[in-house]
Amino acid sequence: MEQQVDMNKKVATKPHKKKKRITKDHLLAVSFLLPSFILILIFVYGFIGWTGWVSLSNWNTLVPDFSFAGLKNYIYLFGDYRFQADLRNTVFFTILFIGAVIVMGLLLSALIDSKIKGETFFRNVFLFPMALSFVVTGVVWQWLLNPSTGFNQFLEVFGIQPKWYTDTNILAGFEWGSIEFGLPVAIVAVVIAAVWQMTGFSLAMYLAGLRGIPEELREAARIDGASEFQIYRKVILPMLTPITVSVVIIMAHISLKIFDLIYAMTGSGANFVTDVPGVYMFETTFRGNYYANGSAIAIIMLLLVAVFIVPYLITNRRGDS
């Protein structure tokens, strides 16, 4: 049977085991992979290509119009007030979100790792928000941080009345394009909600990482007279680098593509202080029928994520071989 399958007699006759032979196993594997491969080829990569093509067309009405428009839609977007605000918001959201998730995750995992009582309980408490969808988180935090309800009525007792996501101030702002570039205060409220949800993830990652560091290393460092702080700085943190990289990559692609949390929690916000490309794309495509503009936004989002993912994939490949 196997002899029949061999496509190449030379290969078959050669005694070297390293040479590849097409066996039944191979065929079986290919036959199982092929359907999903084809489906992904068509429905993921095919449609990415299609979106790219639409983004270069004039299709900005209900009626499809595939005449070539060059970079017109991209030029329009980068001159657009709303899109500039979106880019600003994405930058600040991503930086704050990733930073906070890493710091919180590291801190909490270090605490949980210090052999406290009820470790499982705390771990589950912090992991649980991850079980919720962003839409649920958005609705909950919308009420918690609403200036006239929730948490704020408690703060009012102390005379503090933050406006959270209704705040339209831009911190440290300066003119940039047609917008004011700086930290939109309102985005902080969204960051809080997102961090609340995703900290559990980085906590779990870091906890696994900490558990992977042999106790002997710490012991050795202690014997050498290192303080606990030094042990973390010089021994543990460097060993956790691969985990930090993974966390950054995963969080970056979440935050660059964020849509549901913002859509449920704040919407675009006054003066687009909490708007993100995802929300803009949805509204301009499906409300305004600007299909080409919407596709251009989608392609820009893809490129933004690629900036993070591609270097990661390349280093991963190098590591494999």
Binding site: L27, P35, I38, N60, L62, K163, G267, N289, Y290
Partner: protein, 431 residues
């Protein structure tokens, strides 16, 4: 081995077949098993809408029941899609229309959403003969028929009317502060000052979605320009740089000084609640807010809350109308026409509208079936000058509306009249 190969081949062909087929099948999406009208029974009418909310769904179901009673041999497929105030439904509809798989009939706002959208895309069949045959030409107001017509052809049947230029107010707040209903902008601002001094928010606004603010602006525009110039503005006969538009923007700016501080965190229901609770005195909202006041907040019309037309728009009626048309390329034209005939009949409109909380589009409906607000509005409807709404896509195409909403969203914070007028003027190049 050969067996394995042929099996594999079979699996592949099946897959490709499914993939190709799903191109057309997925268009009819929406979770309905019998989405395609082409398939089985030829006597199915598929009704596409976004009526899934409390009152509106009841209205639609009652209408379908009435239709089944009259035409028991025709199946009805209720293809309603919820979410996003129609945005989701419109996205699905666009996909289906582009894939040449239209529903038998679909919900669309009269005006530009119909005319600049589907009629311009050459997807609709004219209904002039049908209107003549049903003797409807004098049953609907001429202004309304014009709104669903393009180049002399009628393209859809209006089923209901909502009014956009209504100011709802909390009656006990008005009584307590001894306030008369303001008829002009000056009176309105005097009232607002008085309320503000007394510690009451004069005007509630919930612009988490920008159309609520756009709605205020359109009513101010109507008040300043009057119905003729208002219509001319959207026809491109008057530029957005006109001094009257600038004046309207200034009044809009001044009005925004009297709204609740947390407006960006509220939607229209949350804002209406402020009026219901007496924290705010007034809200400018389409009259679907009446349903919210009476059904959700359990307030009594003309006792807890009252209503009056926006300042300087007395005698004018900003129309939001849902209509149903006849797309090209459908199979069950006769059955669909039967449905449209029920939809446009007095009986059909009187079954649907009291439940939906709107008024009938026909002038000869039975007022006794409606509550006091409905009766008042029906009277205004038959006498007032009808103008199309901008905020709900009747006065201008959706693309322009999206840009206006963006400009308004920026204006509410920046209050920069020059930039606002500039942006509107640039966007108007699409009109």
């Amino acid at each position: 081995m050969k067996k394995l190969f042929s099996l594999l081949l079979l699996a592949l062909t099946a897959l490709i077949f499914v993939a190709c087929n799903s191109d057309t099948a997925s268009d009819s999406d929406g979770g309905d098993a019998s989405g395609d009208d082409g398939g089985d029974g030829n006597k199915t009418v598929e009704i596409f809408s976004w009526w899934t909310g409390a009152g509106e769904e009841d209205g639609l179901l009652a209408l379908i029941d009435l239709f089944k009673e009259k035409h028991p041999d025709v199946e009805v497929d209720n293809a309603a899609i919820s979410g996003g105030a129609g945005t989701n439904a419109k996205a699905v509809l666009a996909t289906r229309m582009q894939g040449d798989d239209p529903p038998s009939t679909f919900q669309v706002h009269g005006g530009e959403e119909l005319n600049a959208g589907w009629v311009a895309a050459d997807k609709m069949q004219p209904l002039n003969d049908f209107f003549e045959e049903q003797e409807w030409m004098d049953k609907f107001p001429q202004d309304l028929i014009d709104m669903v017509s393009k180049d002399g052809n009628i393209y859809s049947v209006p089923v209901n009317i909502h009014r956009g230029n209504v100011m709802f107010y909390n009656m006990s707040v008005f009584e307590e502060h001894n306030i008369e209903i303001p008829k002009t902008f000056d009176e309105f601002f005097a009232v607002a000052d008085k309320l503000q001094e007394a510690g009451v928010t004069p005007l509630a606004l919930g612009d988490k979605e920008a159309w609520t603010a756009t709605q205020i602006f359109e009513n101010i525009l109507l008040g300043v320009l009057g119905p003729d110039d208002y219509t001319a503005l959207f026809n491109g006969e008057i530029p957005f740089t006109d001094e009257k538009v600038v004046e309207a923007a200034e009044i809009f700016k001044k009005t925004l000084g009297y709204v609740n501080e947390d407006h960006a965190s509220r939607n229209w229901q949350d804002a209406s609640q402020l009026v219901g609770d007496g924290e705010a005195a007034m809200i400018n909202m389409g009259d679907w807010a009446k349903g919210y006041f009476s059904n959700d907040l359990n307030l009594e019309t003309n006792k807890d809350f009252g209503y009056f037309p926006n300042p300087e728009t007395n005698g004018e009626f900003v129309i939001i109308t849902d209509t149903f048309g006849l797309p090209k390329g459908i199979e069950n034209v006769e059955e669909t026409k039967q449905f449209l005939s029920v939809l446009g009949s007095v009986e059909g409109q009187d079954v649907f509208n009291p439940l939906k909380g709107s008024i009938p589009a026909r002038l000869d409906a039975d007022p006794s079936k409606y509550d006091q607000y409905g009766k008042d509005t029906m009277e205004d409807f038959s006498e007032a000058t009808l103008v199309p709404t901008l905020a709900h896509g009747s006065a201008a195409p959706e693309g322009f509306l999206t840009k206006v909403n963006q400009a308004v969203n920026i204006f509410v914070t920046q209050l920069d009249v020059d930039t606002f007028i500039d942006t509107l003027n640039n966007a108007a190049s699409e009109l």
